[in-house]
Assembly symmetry: D2
Homo-oligomer: 319 residues x 4
């Protein structure tokens, strides 16, 4: 293994830059040539590939987004597309590729590894929707970003004594709502993994009001229901209109937290070490704070489940 | 003047606490008795009025929202309601009242002054929609809050090379969109005071793309059009779908900035000084960084216009 | 177990409020009476103990510091002092006590448990200097606070192309310097656990300059050396004067991060569950992201060592 | 006027990038050629001058520091140095120069204007120590940065019920201490313009303690006294040791606030417009929120005085 490339693909997440930096510097440390690919798989097709040195990744560890840019490439999904990608890599004698992204990106990596390119995946997505790993790069930042928003919303909802529905990202996985809900002191948390119990929520609001509670925060994952219909149902059952706040794309940005920078750095180092051991078609994960690597197939076959110990804690703490 | 009350009314804004603190401490400094009224005019009706001392306003200057709470009271709009309010004030020999809020709150103050209560208004609203004053308390914080969101959105929109529509508050007044747009480096700013020119915006996006611009930010005031129809029109004219981010209630919260804390402090001091001069039915404003007071009638009669020197600067800087 | 008290002791740390909240709400969930003790062990002596309900801990999960206050009590160190403390607890039939603090606070808890009070310790300190647990409450926030400072310092040190020495807390344990150094992209990290190699650091600075590096950050734990003498030595060896920035008490404050709120919540729940099992003289810890409890004696007997896998990573990444 | 250059000089301040951006884009708007000079006057000597286009200043409005870099050049102070600078400008037919910096930088601009280069100064320094203008670029950000630190320090000083001395920048001008003191709710503010009254401060602390105040913040400008001797004196007079926090270089960094970005943008536009009117040896200032230009000589001849209306307000509000 002499020549290794790195790319980011799919939705961006804070900490991707720290991961790229770790891949580049670890590669250089082990005397590899490291190449950066622009715009994900698209850059493999358009041959937008540049050799990197230690300075290429200077002053980026603290920046959100990905300086290599990212995209979702449709052409790469075709056989012709993948052929072109492999050719462009082989012309430069690039034997190894680190792919930072989510499950779609990992499937792309898997295909390339069948064509003789050693590929290692690093999980980068704010959704934390990959079953094989406890955490993905960007999740800790996203939770903290939601918490900052909750603190701001508390100011105004307390002043007005209002109920607020905060809708956060998470189409299939409720982790962002769950963690931000518990850490933000939400009274109710609604995740896609557990059906919405409108009577229970209305009951909590009504009970809280009796106790003199000044406001009530409902943390809703986007995949778990529609904020507007929830608002409508709550008017019927509590007599009051809740405010809605859809946090949107701010959840994807921001300077990465310490947690994400560290996880990204550790995973970047490990990814290169895997390539040096001639491993391929593997993804890096973290379980109980220990890094590991696993076959992509196996990893993608797992089904993400809600952490019930955390979920049941919400019940106790939102008293 | 021996007994003075203070309340916050209508929508809350960051810096209201600093204004209350200044009213309380200035009153005490001049040996007045100061009373805090809870939940705006509602507290006048329900007699939720408490005597305050220096410690009552300790550790609040830096906090968003209003610790006196606020509301929009319908009962106060009735003659009976106002009668009750005046009675509750007179029972306590409260002769002066400082009202922190927007134009609706000022109209309430005006009515009370006709009943013999000396009233002074302090402008507190993030919208900056009061024509008689350059700035209102909360506006500087709201602009900075929007800028923080823009910085986060930039991370992800640059990584994806996307156009983003950011919708901010401002039903009739585009100041928040204008200031946040200029300071956030938005390429296009759309305000209620100036009709939307879709072709011009699409032209800018297309020109930017030719120049290799990585992303394009459109700052849209909520009163100036609908983000979704703008998005639809832009697909027709640029061939690409812009992302939408509606910032919502986070714009109302957050620790007040230095600018808002200072303005609130200065206005709170001035309001009490006006009462000590036996003035009534006046509002405090700031023009060219100088405080002044003005009759409520006169102040509310003015029509807010866009600052054209700032607006035309946007044209130059968004090149 | 029917009556349980909670206190915070020693240096405060962000997340202590979240831990108190979890103790109170978990206690109430299991139908216990929960008492809050003010100012640490001092409040046990002065009998400053109040019964708490769910609202007592409302709106505090996101706030730094500890609303129960904290102190270092000298009187409690005496036998008479401890006797008085036990009396005050027994008068109220308080059988269990949760102590949130560092090693000194744990020793106090241990003494009380010998007097028949069941005690459980929760590790709260920004220093992360307790060997028996991977992390303490407040550490994640402190690392992130240092990172924010590093980002600000980068702006000015890059503009001036200067070397900066950033001194952070950590008298005996270099974890804060180590984690903030790695995550802040520091070129050199100096911890008490490893002697300072001035020639190595000067060498890195000189090498960096040749490579065109615009600035160089040295992260120094306060226990590892003196910033001023380091500055002096560097002038001799690099010909240039580094700037010094001593971060000080800001490292102790700030809204707790998601990580600290979650850890604090989990530990608070577990502490109460330990008391319900009639356990005493135990501390709660986290190892590989799993909570556990351990005898205080045993826990305090361990010697904290630097995480060598993290420390050696710094070498690779600061290339 | 066809060719104009811009540089930043002396200490950097947040908002300098926004000012550069405004100069460049306004120049291009008026069809000028705009050149960026690296590292202040040093770049004029070393001929480190590059032509800029609209993209050169893309994505920088929100970033602290100055991407053109800055320095204090000793060679430029010599006649030979200045000669070389003028030659390098004339070779490129650069007739106008915008200098962003403090009084030292303005003196440099003045010298160049005597050699036939039209120069316009823009005030950029966090100290706000220029008498001719109400505000300088970077001051609003620095005040807000200090306030963030005060909020963090409050958490821990309230928890411990401690007095804290916060030392901020300001060698000759106390504005940063004054504004941050008032907006941070400091109980005492010590500025170079007014001698330190130790008995008064000790009296306030003692009186506050009687009233049950949980903490006391002393905001000290670095030019107004030494934190350590103040600490020593306070022990004698209050019986307690205050904590010291020296904020240091973080005050120079950080993303610029809306206020600074707007001021910088306005001043950048105005500087170019002055050059287009063939003005030279002038500085841009703001008085009562109105921009103006003034002869450098005249501007530098003024003596900065404390704003007594603000200073006396501190007395009332810190009750």
């Amino acid at each position: 293994m002499k020549n290794v490339a790195v790319l980011t693909s799919g939705g961006d997440s804070p900490g991707m830059n720290a991961a790229i930096r770790a891949v580049v510097r670890t590669g250089l440390y082990y005397n590899l040539n490291i190449f950066g690919v622009k715009k994900g798989y698209e850059g493999l097709l358009s041959n937008d590939i540049k050799k990197m040195n230690a300075s290429s990744v200077g002053d980026i560890i603290h920046k959100g987004g990905t300086f290599l840019k990212t995209s979702r490439s449709e052409e790469f999904m075709t056989e012709n597309g993948r052929k072109k990608a492999v050719e462009n890599l082989k012309t430069r004698n690039i034997e190894g590729l680190v792919v930072i992204g989510g499950d779609g990106s990992f499937r792309g990596a898997q295909t390339l590894s069948r064509e003789g390119i050693a590929t290692i995946g690093i999980p980068g997505t704010i959704d934390n929707d990959l079953a094989y790993t406890d955490f993905t790069i960007g999740f800790d930042t996203a939770v903290n970003t939601v918490l900052e928003a909750v603190t701001k919303i508390r100011d105004t909802s307390t002043s007005h004594e209002k109920t607020t529905i905060i809708e956060v990202m998470g189409r299939y996985c409720g982790d962002l709502a769950l963690y931000a809900g518990i850490c933000g002191g939400a009274e109710s948390i609604i995740v896609p993994e557990d059906p919405l119990h409108i009577d229970e929520i209305a009951g909590r609001i009504n009970k809280g009001k009796e106790r003199g509670k000044l406001h009530h925060i409902i943390m809703l994952a986007e995949g778990a229901g529609d904020a507007k219909s929830l608002q409508k149902d709550l008017i019927d059952k509590t007599g009051e209109s809740a405010r809605i706040s859809v946090l949107g794309f701010i959840q994807r940005g921001g300077d990465p937290t310490a947690g994400d920078r560290l996880l990204a750095s550790r995973m970047g180092v490990k990814a290169v070490e895997e390539l040096l051991k001639f491993n391929s078609s593997k993804v890096i994960g973290v379980r109980n704070n220990q890094l590991f690597s696993e076959d992509i197939d196996q990893a993608l076959g797992k089904k993400k489940a809600l952490d019930t110990s955390i979920y049941s804690m919400a019940e106790i703490l939102s008293l």
